[in-house]
């Protein structure tokens, strides 16, 4: 050191994030969704006797499973401050593909290509990975913003789906997929177990691996990540592929869960998955949040959708209420970012 002594300057020392109020402010992103969940649960439990039952908890878990599987990959994408609008379409095409490669009953009028079950699964996985790679290529190599790139991919995947089924409905999928999608073990549906495992895996990757750290850093400050010598394009490309593969898995199990594979089957899952991630508190600006937030977000949506069925409410009003809740979550999301920036000012 050029001079061995530092001037003791308490003024130069920035204030710490002291005080309960300041902690609450900086943690608002995590606290607000959780309070919403508690509030909604309490509300429906009081409003309807059939809501707070063990059976219904099982229902909610099953209902959010496919969204949960898709939302794992989407969490990675949103943490990088990107977006993937092709998740539902990729889920759909992957589900259709796995049926396309499975022998259908004779009354199903699809010119399909039957394969052994594991080959069908591998081909379907390869398809969604490939579509994710195309997203990645467009985003990182060509430089198309993810919003537009995945919008195009949404159409492409829908187009492939249409070509494969040609307006028909396929019912058969490989036995493994049937079991995981619609079977259960010891009373627990396999699809809930798969969703839980994938969420856990996503959490472990984000929290405990180098790749996970890079995802947060790229989302937090992309320029700084690049000037720190991270391969930003590789990381962005990877999250697009991860998102597509998660969507594909969700799509395959979803097809088994619904019992059929057809066009436009997953359309509502685009909004639901984005809503789950954002309602949970993961920042749309990247770098903040995680799978824990996504889980809370999933439950908020799950409790809301399920609870509205238990109370006597106009089914058209339901749609409006969902929209309002989503809006409130977005407001909190943006507001939390501002509070946090203020706390660090």
């Amino acid at each position: 050191m050029a001079h061995g002594e530092t001037v003791p300057m308490p003024e130069a020392q920035p204030r710490r994030n002291g005080g309960v109020a300041s902690v609450l402010r900086s943690q608002m992103r995590n606290i607000a969704p959780f309070l919403t969940l508690i509030f909604l649960t309490a509300f429906f439990a009081i409003a309807s006797p059939s809501f707070a039952t063990l059976d219904n908890v099982g229902n909610i878990l099953t209902q959010v499973s496919v969204t949960g599987i898709i939302a794992v990959g989407l969490t990675f994408v949103i943490l990088c401050a990107e977006i993937d609008l092709s998740i539902a379409a990729i889920a759909n095409v992957t589900g259709i593909a796995v049926a396309y490669f499975t022998l259908q009953d004779s009354y199903v009028n699809i010119a399909n290509v039957p394969m052994p079950g594991f080959v069908a699964i591998l081909l379907a996985l390869a398809l969604c990975a490939l579509l994710g790679a195309v997203n990645a290529f467009g985003l990182t190599v060509i430089g198309i913003p993810s919003f537009i790139m995945t919008l195009a991919m949404m159409q492409i995947a829908a187009g492939i789906s249409a070509m494969l089924v040609r307006g028909q409905i396929a019912y058969k999928v490989p036995p493994l997929i049937t079991t995981l999608g619609s079977g259960s073990i010891a009373g627990v549906p396999w699809i809930v177990i798969v969703a839980a495992l994938m969420l856990l895996l996503g959490h472990l990757v984000l929290t405990y691996t180098r790749f996970g750290r890079y995802v947060y850093m790229v989302g937090g400050n992309r320029e700084a990540a690049e000037y720190s010598g991270l391969n930003v394009k590789l990381i962005l490309g990877s999250v697009m592929v991860i998102s597509a593969v998660c969507s594909g898995i969700g799509g395959m199990l979803g097809v088994a869960h619904f019992g059929s594979a057809q066009q436009n089957e997953f359309d509502t899952y685009l909004l639901d998955s984005i809503a789950a991630v954002v309602v949970g508190g993961t920042s749309l600006f990247g770098g903040r949040g995680g799978i824990g937030n996504t889980i809370v977000g999933l439950f908020v949506l799950g409790v809301l959708n399920n609870g509205l069925d238990h109370v006597n409410i106009d089914s058209f009003l339901k749609i409006l209420i969902r929209g309002l809740i989503l809006l409130a979550a977005l407001v909190i999301n943006v507001y939390a970012q501002r509070l946090r920036a203020k706390a660090a000012d």
């Binding site: 050191m1 050029a2 001079h3 530092t6 001037v7 300057m9 308490p10 003024e11 130069a12 020392q13 920035p14 204030r15 710490r16 994030n17 002291g18 005080g19 300041s22 405990y208 691996t209 180098r210 790749f211 996970g212 750290r213 890079y214 947060y216 850093m217 937090g220 400050n221 320029e223 700084a224 990540a225 690049e226 000037y227 720190s228 010598g229 991270l230 391969n231 930003v232 394009k233 590789l234 770098g287 903040r288 946090r340 920036a341 660090a344 000012d345």
Partner: protein
């Protein structure tokens, strides 16, 4: 020069605390009409806090705030602006995608009776105003296409010509070349004649002495000294700022420096051969040996930023090649450059650090792949970070707090620290001491020298001659993308450097 009218602005016994920390203690401050008031002090001395109080950013404080002799209370920056107070912040805040004219009139565009923007009038008036600052830019061109120095001048122009009666300039000259500074000062003097009160904050003591009527020195949240600029000297101000003399550092600024003979026995680490890039660089060649600091000096826009980015794989040269330890390298990404042993600190800390992440994650980010293959090892990260924080005397010495809570000088040390736990072969530093106080500057200089002595090749690129002189063993001067002069093994001074550029 000062008239006897009542002060424009008078602050009495101002105290301001953040949480438990007092940033200002009982400060009095007076600004008269037609006065340029220089403000100096190390980072964290309280200058910025005081200015933010004046500009209505900080609203909670104790003490009296008088404007034209009447006590006022601002609830927001809007109130301050309405009262005729305008501030140019240190960080550039322009809209790069808007035109030059729109930026000059941002939020204040001339409109006709229908509320539509009068483009022609706006362009004409913008051009007139800019000409007064000596800027000859097309008012309808996109601001982001202009050099940074010009953008900064345009931001200053916006405030200078906004009609404000009190203008606060926070480090306005750090990105400007000497002729640009001259033009800025001429504009300030004209405003002074019109009775505007100007507060001028700078680390460049020469600038302060040149332009100010009155100088106030802050230290540790207190006003240490107030004196007419004519009655003081650079040495006296520096001593008041830091509380003791720092002769060695002062020497390197004012005296001639004899550059050492190049270490010809050491291996060449990096060799640039005819690097060219569009209009920015023309056949730039140089070599740096292990244990040597190469200074690259030139005015803003001379091509140094582009050169630095080529060295770190962010930009690909159109022609020429780069050899690292004799091996030809074509970096496809900054990750390639990092793996080749190159470390890079850009001119803006914001571009290099993660403000919302803890200090230890900032320090470990560039070496994560060396401490773990797949799984993170946070305890090792923290240990590494703690060692760096200790060695570089980063304050506060806490690796868990968010980086954004550190002062600018300490952030810059973190930017260096992230490359040091696994020393690189070549360290590329852009403006390593810009906007830093004297103490932090000498710390950074010490760190760089230490690295050089360990055998690391260093390239320092700067528009500040002091920075180059205090660090470099050899200097090349860039002018419009070309190497116009090399200084090696000879005596050199600030004058000769400025002359060459």
């Amino acid at each position: 020069m000062l008239d006897s009218r009542p002060p424009l602005l008078e602050l009495q016994d101002i105290t301001k605390s953040f949480g438990g920390v007092t940033a200002l203690r009982g400060v009095d401050f007076t600004l008269r009409p037609g006065e340029i008031h220089g403000l100096v002090g190390e980072n964290g001395a309280g200058k910025s806090t005081l200015m933010k109080i004046i500009a209505g950013v900080h609203t909670g404080f104790s003490g009296r705030f008088l404007l034209d002799g009447r006590e006022v209370h601002f609830n927001s920056t809007r109130d301050a602006r309405a009262a005729g107070i305008a501030m140019v912040h240190q960080e550039l805040s322009v809209a790069p995608d808007l035109t030059v004219a729109e930026n000059v009139f941002l939020g204040n565009q001339p409109t006709n009776a229908l509320g539509l923007v009068q483009w022609r009038r706006m362009a004409r008036e913008a051009a007139e105003q800019l000409k007064r600052l000596g800027i000859d830019a097309d008012p309808m061109s996109r601001l982001g296409d202009l050099p940074i120095g010009v953008q900064q001048l345009i931001e200053i122009a916006r405030v200078l010509f906004s009609g404000a009666r009190i203008i606060i300039l926070d480090e306005p000259t750090s990105a400007l070349s000497p002729p640009e500074v001259e033009r800025l000062f001429a504009a300030l003097r004209k405003l002074r004649e019109q009775g505007t009160g100007i507060i001028f904050i700078s680390h460049f003591i020469e600038d302060i002495l040149l332009i100010s009527d009155e100088v106030t020195v802050f230290r540790n949240g207190r006003k240490i000294m107030e004196t007419p600029a004519a009655d003081t000297s650079k040495a006296a101000l520096i001593e008041a700022m830091i509380g003791k003399g720092r002769d060695a550092l002062e020497d390197s600024y004012t005296h001639d420096i004899t550059l050492p003979a190049p270490p010809l026995d050491k291996p060449v680490v990096v060799e640039a051969d005819g690097l060219s890039l569009a209009r920015n660089l023309k056949r730039v060649s140089f070599a740096v040996r292990a244990g040597e600091v190469l200074g690259v000096y030139g005015f803003m826009g001379c091509g140094q930023l582009e050169l630095a980015r080529i060295l770190f794989g962010k930009l690909a040269p159109d022609a020429g090649e780069l050899r690292i330890s004799g091996e030809r390298n074509r970096f496809k990404s900054t990750a390639d450059a990092r793996r080749a042993g190159i470390a890079f600190v850009p001119e803006s800390r914001r571009d290099m650090l993660f403000m919302q992440e803890p200090v230890y994650k900032n320090i470990s980010i560039s070496i994560l792949d060396r401490i773990n293959a797949v799984l993170l090892k946070p305890s090792r990260e923290r240990a590494l970070a703690k060692r760096q924080v200790e060695q570089l005397q980063i304050r506060p010495a806490d690796v868990e707090i968010d980086l954004g809570l550190l002062s600018g000088g300490n952030q810059q040390k973190v930017a260096l620290a992230k490359w040091l736990s696994h020393p690189p072969r070549l360290l590329v530093l852009c403006e390593p001491t810009r906007g830093m106080d004297v103490g932090a500057k000498s710390d950074v200089i010490g760190i760089v020298r230490q690295l050089r002595d360990q055998g690391i090749a260093v390239i320092v690129l700067s528009t500040e001659p002091e920075t180059v002189l205090s660090l470099a063993d050899r200097v090349i001067v860039l002018k419009r993308g070309e190497v116009v002069r090399e200084f090696a093994g000879e005596t050199i001074s600030k004058d000769r450097l400025l002359e060459a550029a």
